[in-house]
Amino acid sequence: MTRLLLGLCFGAYLGFGGPSVLSAQGGSYDESALRLEGHQGDLRIVRGLDGTVVAHIGGLRTPDVSTLVSPSEKAIAEAKIFSHDYGPGSWIAAAGIVAIGAGIGVYQMHDVERSIPTGLTIGGAALIVYGANRVQNAYNALARSLWWYNRDLKK
């Protein structure tokens, strides 16, 4: 029973925010080269000819890409830029969505001054644009990181 509980806890840990990165392995380009792929709104890092999924990127969770690309120094440097920008960018964009939602909600209240929902909507849109820009920078750093990682693989 205890084992079952431990198993369930571990499964839940993996399912809700646990490490979503499989550690990197050395090898040839065909076996180990990484690339980014999108699938149903979920961004994935896949490896090799067979396209094994080694990491998921999505929502507010930031995978540890540095570990994945660890043999390559330049790849690690770019992975750190990704980690630096992705998390804050996602949170800021999410805050913007909440602000716009609040703005729409307040707009329905007739006894509230109109400047409040307008301010919330404009502020929310600005947060979304700023957050999306940081997420975009993060994705570009991730693409550079994978490029450098693949460069250091054998043919």
Binding site: L36, G38, G59, A94
Partner: protein, 183 residues
């Protein structure tokens, strides 16, 4: 949900650049016809260049792409040389660029198909949404504005999905192209 919102906002933001790109393309049609002969010479030069690409090392010739508000920049080598910009009805000649690798060529055709569908649906969706909002703002009480907004947002979501699929195909195409480079 957050990603869908970000995709919608990004789609709306790049609509302006997409429209200007389309206008630019229409404006440049006439000179393009006039420069037909020169264009074929440039095409031959590009083909020669892409053939030479397969003999380049990874450092000098490997490609990758970066996105900037709906535009896709194709970059080459460790020096980050910009060799073309794709996106929203714009084609930087990817088929010619990647012609040395058959698998890359197959993937890039998938990218072009998905990118066209995504751009078209996203653009039409953004337009329908904007019209719906304008109609609603003018105090119209009929059913057209919610229908336009719902249809527009649906079009933008469908378009964003296809754009995402197109980026996946482009990623695979460049992966295959880089695989065939010498090291």
């Amino acid at each position: 949900m957050a990603k869908v919102f970000i995709a919608l906002v990004m789609s709306a933001a790049v609509m302006v650049s997409g429209a200007s790109a389309a206008a630019q393309s229409a404006e440049s049609d006439a000179p393009r016809v006039a420069k037909g002969a020169a264009g074929s010479a440039v095409g031959a030069a590009m083909r020669a260049e892409t053939t030479a690409d397969s003999t380049h090392s990874y450092d000098a010739g490997a490609l990758r792409f970066e996105t900037r508000w709906g535009n896709v920049s194709i970059l080459r080598g460790s020096s980050n040389t910009l060799i073309g910009t794709a996106g929203w009805f714009r084609d930087p000649g990817l088929e010619q660029m990647l012609s040395s690798s058959p698998r890359a060529l197959r993937e890039v055709r998938g990218y072009e198909t998905q990118n066209f569908r995504g751009s078209l649906a996203g653009g039409a969706g953004a337009l329908a949404t904007a019209v719906g909002i304008v109609v609603a703002a003018n105090g119209s009480n009929d059913a057209s504005s919610p229908i336009l907004v719902i249809a527009g947002v649906s079009g933008m979501i469908w378009g964003a999905q296809h754009l995402s699929m197109s980026y996946a195909a482009l990623s695979r195409a460049l992966w295959w192209y880089n695989r065939d480079l010498s090291r």
